[in-house]
Symmetry: C2
Subunit: 620 residues, 2 copies
């Protein structure tokens, strides 16, 4: 994965609003590629044509929600100018437990962001080239693999790299919007005929119910996920960072309103029927521009911005995990940067989990959506509740207004959580509602474990000063061998430099197996005894530890037995694979026994001649 | 995979002819389930209805071939009463290289036996339940997985376990035959209408060519694979073993003639058209018995006997590999029995390779067949050539007749190899013709490697007697640490029992990281120096080895540096997974450095209190 990089190469690029916005907003902006589809998926099969009357009303409700979020989050920006992220905000201002709920929710959501964005991106590809539809899972997995490799190597975090596709997407969606409006004004807009190939979707004739509208609202909420990204990254803006981040929020909101509102408007004119083969954007583009160059450009920019949205999760999830890992709530391995300075373990976990979701849900955005958004809104709620309490506690100037805004935000996002949980419960939200508390419990268990270990290992300062490091008695050394060879002789000589009490140990699985060893040993001029034990199993650890336990030397409490394992080393890895390399396994197994120190004595296979030179010198 | 078993539990069941035959013959007998299909696959699409005139002639040629093989192999049984297998026969009597060719051929063939038999077994299932056809790959993989688990655990090798399904298959095929003959005599036999669902197969109108007939013959040769099994297992028969094994050969031949000949005869009457959805046996059964109980019984017994045929490969391949491994031509790991006394690595290799073939070839027997049989006939040829030379060399009583028989066998099987290679070259045989020599080269490379290692490690007896094991000087000890804790203190005390020259080593990746360690160290009453090195990389092996190399102590040639790695141990595996366990990685990496002995000093996390008791005693 490329040569390793020193720690000081961690980049510190600061961006202005124009170049920075796309990096942080691709997740939110790209949601338009599936959010309108999802609203129609709920409505059309149930209430038919009237859907196109209700869809814009639901979109307006979602846009109002977005406005509340924007205003609330602009205040969080002021409160956490160093960037915080919901996890830190909740942990700082509420109880740790709420921080963990946020951590779990966001983790689930990052994974879903990848699965949903990649599935939607694949849908954009297969809408353009229908022949690829049967291969959609393979395509999605290919995208995820590409991103995993890219992020393990460390992708360019240059803001320009990200900005051009985002602005290209905005421009193409805007042209679609303008051309669509012109067509509708000119009276040449005709409803798109439903596709015959997807019999599952047909115009429903049910009565409208509040539950149905709330379900559609829940589905559409996918459009506002990703709003938190700017708030997490305030210090990445050029000075004045806070002001710039707040400006970015305004622009983000405008962009989402234009794209999401615009596509919803076009849907009311062109009546696209949701189906798994053609996305709403693809249907609109085909109807407005025909299946020509513009159609393919729109599909291409949609795919790219969705891939970028997935990539924001690859940037965000490993960092979130590393922060939680530093607090000790997830395994420490997630806190370490790899050779290429990325958090490799987090990247791998993300791609495995997202890949599994893509396979289980057949890369179908529509099936994944019910799991999405709950996590995001849970973290929205807790972050705002935290800020609300912060205003209340610290009471800065104008705190009543600030508290009112974030209190309102808390209430509205909390209501949204309830609405999503209830209306989407059976279609998948229950999974997330089960997993989040489970993750929280696991995280607390992990932290307890680390605390226990730290306590056990700690030596308090006052005790250090009283410690006297008198040496233990000379160690007792055992060398397990299979035959008498150069490697064993090297090990024997080393053993004699450690101790006068050395034994060589061999396991005989059938009568006579060790005869050759016995006779060779007899020829060797040494006072080191050869101990041979019979055993029916082809295993050395069992008989060896049994012998040690039965050994009078081991019975002196506190004594350390040293087991020396001769291990030869060959230069090439494929050569190493030809050997059993049992030493490392034995070493690992023996570690479980108190007071057995395991030493690996390496023998480079090339060193024989030198060793002989050494030995020859000492021939009597 | 179940509790481990002692070596003396290796079973030694001896069987008589009636119970032993099915164990050894299921591979050969089951071939009838696809051999007739394969002959028709070649003929029908090319020459249409005339196929049913030529098919029995080809079958007769194959049966004649089988007779030659039977007579030849009965002689090998006499020559190798202890069982040999083609690998040993070829290695003993020809050059080692030919033994390796046989080893490689048989290995390829065992893998193909599993892939072909399981694919054919799956075809029997999907012929009975056509709805399962789209899931055939999953079914085949499931069968392979089941067999892998069964064989890793150690399946029952009770001959009765195998015999009942084999005899059940024979009985059902016999009833099919009898009912079919009655129907044909009664004049109620009508040709089966070709299935419309498989447009690829239609009655061809080409002229008959010798090449085409030879191709059909090559395909049909799959029917005689598995004939060598009895010869490999002579000592498993009850005494008189040689006589019993020879009788088994006669019975095997009769069974194959009845089933293979019988099904071919029925094909000439009922004109089944080969296709991938319905096997020939299924078509015949449906036409003769209707799709009733008998139809399903026939499909079930066919599936079971094919599964048993695959299982013979699971028994044979790991043993073959272990024999070759003992000679040093394949990695030594294949020579070791696992805890359950099976050769686990061989079993896993077989199931992985066969699984891959099933996936690549979409579990389609028809696509796999061109790869099959070449390996078998190569080993037939070389085994017989070996025996031929043996007669020639040893000249026992009646050797001219014996040599004639095996010479004839050699020539005929060799011609068959050529025919298969030529007629099937483009449809897949080239793969096998490429892989076998490649495998032989790899095997020779592996053997060279082992020979080299053995030479390097060997201490000749005359040298042993002159060796004087004077100890090396006291070792120089380095302890890499991250902080000062109880584990480090335990390691320090152990270090002081080994040597007076001890150093503690730490890597600081940023300024000030080690300050806490420095101040704690200052409080400790010890003469052991703390060495801190700066490094930009989060890696300990690099700075440590650099330090050792720059160290004056290491420059004394022949000196051994001892690196002590404190490693704490927690009881549960999931707890262990929460820690980096870097010690084992560091140990592995340091092994590559000449003269660095790596010791793991374990610290059971429960032992702290005891250690403290120990330490407290020593407070000044």
């Amino acid at each position: 994965m490329g040569e390793k990089l020193p720690t000081n190469r961690l980049s510190e690029e600061k961006f202005n609003v124009f170049w920075g916005l796309p990096v942080l907003a691709s997740d939110a902006i790209s949601s338009v590629a599936y959010a309108v589809d999802e609203i129609l998926w709920v409505l059309v099969p149930s209430i038919g044509l009237i859907s196109y009357y209700w869809a814009p009303k639901i979109a307006i409700a979602i846009i109002l929600l977005l406005l509340v979020l924007t205003i609330s989050y602009r205040q969080i920006v002021s409160a956490y100018p160093n960037g915080g992220g919901a996890y830190i905000v909740a942990k700082d201002n509420l109880k740790v437990k709420y921080g963990l709920i946020v951590g779990a929710s966001l983790s689930v959501d990052y994974i879903l962001t990848v699965a949903v964005s990649i599935s939607a991106g694949t849908a954009a590809v297969t809408s353009a080239i229908p022949a690829l539809y049967p291969h959609r899972i393979a395509i999605a997995i290919f995208f995820i693999a590409l991103m995993t490799i890219g992020n393990l190597r460390g992708v360019s975090d240059s803001s320009k790299f990200f900005s051009i596709p985002t602005y290209a997407f905005l421009v193409t969606i805007l042209s679609l919007l303008i051309a669509g409006i012109i067509k509708s004004i000119g009276g040449t807009a005709v409803p798109i005929p439903p596709m015959v190939s997807d019999p599952a979707v047909s115009f429903g004739t049910q009565a409208i119910s509040l539950f149905l509208l709330l379900r559609a609202f829940s589905s559409g909420c996918a459009a506002v996920t990703g709003v938190e990204a700017i708030c997490d990254a305030v210090p990445n803006f050029k000075e004045p960072a806070v002001k710039n981040a707040k400006l970015a929020y305004v622009l983000l909101t405008i962009f989402v309103i234009i794209t999401f509102g615009g596509i919803t408007y076009l849907a009311t004119v062109f009546h696209p029927v949701p189906n798994s083969q053609q996305t709403v954007i693809a249907q609109l583009a085909a109807s407005i521009f025909g299946r020509g160059l513009m159609f393919y450009i729109i599909q291409a920019t949609t795919t790219v911005i969705l891939a970028m949205a997935a990539n924001t999760a690859f940037a965000g999830f490993p960092i979130l995990l590393s922060i939680i890992a530093r607090d000790g709530y997830v395994p420490r391995q997630f806190a370490m940067r790899g050779h290429r300075l990325g958090f490799s373990n987090g990247i791998l976990l993300l791609s495995l989990a997202a890949g599994m979701l893509v396979i289980i849900f057949q890369s179908d955005t529509h099936l994944l959506i019910p799991l999405y958004a709950i996590g995001v809104f849970t973290s929205f709620t807790l972050a705002q509740a935290g800020i609300f309490l912060k205003w209340f506690r610290t009471k800065p100037r104008g705190w009543v207004y600030k508290a009112f805004i974030n209190g309102l935000g808390t209430i509205i996002t909390f209501i949204t959580v309830i609405v999503i949980a209830v209306t989407k419960f059976l279609s998948g939200a229950w999974v997330v509602l089960l997993i989040i508390p489970l993750l929280v419990i696991v995280m607390m268990k992990i932290r307890n474990h680390y605390t226990m270990i730290a306590k056990r290992l700690d030596v308090p300062n006052d005790r250090i000063e009283r410690l006297k490091l008198s040496p233990k008695p000379m160690p007792y050394v055992i060398i397990p061998v299979q035959s008498l060879n150069v490697m064993v002789i090297k090990t024997l000589r080393y053993a004699k430099s450690l101790s006068n009490e050395v034994e060589v140990f061999n396991v005989e699985t059938y009568e006579g197996e060790a005869d050759k060893l016995r006779s060779k040993w007899a020829k060797l001029k040494t006072d080191v005894p050869l101990v041979i034990k019979q055993s029916a199993y082809r295993d050395i650890v069992g008989p060896l530890t049994e012998y040690i336990e039965s050994n009078e030397h081991a019975s002196r409490p506190g004594d350390v037995i040293t087991v020396l394992l001769p291990q030869f080393v060959v230069a090439k890895p494929w050569e190493m694979a030809l050997h059993n390399n049992t030493s490392l396994f034995i070493a690992r197994a023996l570690l479980n026994y108190r007071n057995i120190v395991v030493s690996l004595v390496p023998f480079q296979i090339e060193e024989k001649s030198e060793l002989y030179k050494d030995i020859d010198l000492e021939i009597e």
